[in-house]
């Protein structure tokens, strides 16, 4: 596990909000020289602190008015059916995230659609036809807030 001081944590938080900030801009914000900020950021990136970047897009403005969380239980649980299901579900463009979970479901999906009829189409034609699907529960997203996480701010 990587050792972090308060400046590292502040840098991680700043980059999690805007990954395009330059070493110069980060240095000015946190009282570091540009090379010092660059060295710290490189160390964090090399340690794998960031999985990658993500575009934060206004889904509504882009015509995706509906986000639904699906909880899926598989009907059959052989090793092949798991693999078939996982491959097929990841290939659906409307499926944004696929998480394997333990609890009352086997998988948790985040699905976007243009509107409710479009969601119904995705659900019937793409989700319900996945290999091995048993039951599907749906919860429609009303609002969402992402928090900075335990970075000791």
């Amino acid at each position: 596990m990587i050792d972090l001081d308060d400046t590292d944590r502040a840098l991680i938080r700043a980059l999690s909000e805007d990954a395009t900030l330059s070493a110069g801009a980060l240095g000015r914000r946190f009282g570091l020289s540009q090379p010092a900020a660059w060295r710290r950021v490189r160390r964090l990136r090399e340690a794998g602190v960031f999985r990658g970047h993500r575009l934060d897009l206004d889904a509504q403005a882009l015509g995706f008015g509906v986000t639904v969380f699906l909880g899926i239980r598989l009907a059959t649980k052989g090793r092949t059916s798991l693999g078939d299901f996982e491959r097929a579900v990841q290939a659906i463009p409307e499926v944004q995230t696929v998480e394997h979970v333990l609890g009352m479901y086997d998988y948790r999906l985040r699905v976007v659609a243009r509107d409710i009829p479009d969601f119904e189409r995705v659900l019937r034609r793409r989700i319900m036809t996945l290999p091995g699907v048993g039951s599907v529960d749906a919860n429609v997203l009303l609002s969402e807030e992402r928090r900075p996480g335990p970075l000791g701010a």
């Binding site: 403005a61 394997h100 429609v140």
Partner: protein
Amino acid sequence: MLDDTDRRILRQYQAAPETGLQDLADRCGMTATTLGRRLDRLRARGILRATRGVIDWQVLGYSVEVSLRVTLDKSVPRAFEDFVDAAREVPEVLEIQTLLGQVDVRLSVIARDLAHYQALYRDRILALPHMTDIEALMHVARLKGDETLPI
């Protein structure tokens, strides 16, 4: 609305969000100046809010991730507001989503290990107001998590 060029830019940028401006311009078949102008306009219109770094909490020592599905007491008028306000005070809560369906709110919570999770659950989560039911999904693996939109 967006034109085809904007859509092409967002598709290419979503497919490779770590790409620098020049590389992205090459992928989109335009100059970096044109791309920069287009991106500025998408930002100004609020369509591209930000390019965010996605933190790998495992690398920071948080090996447990749990999805908590909460049902609230709807007879209390401010149940949602009170609950969400209190959940914001727990640093280990990464996401707060309000939902329409069998559950009312979902929290994504991380912990260093199971002992830490147990302490968090008892001391902070169960102390949140107006809960009538709570159930947990333990995260095993993330198979797809890029959250791209099919533009």
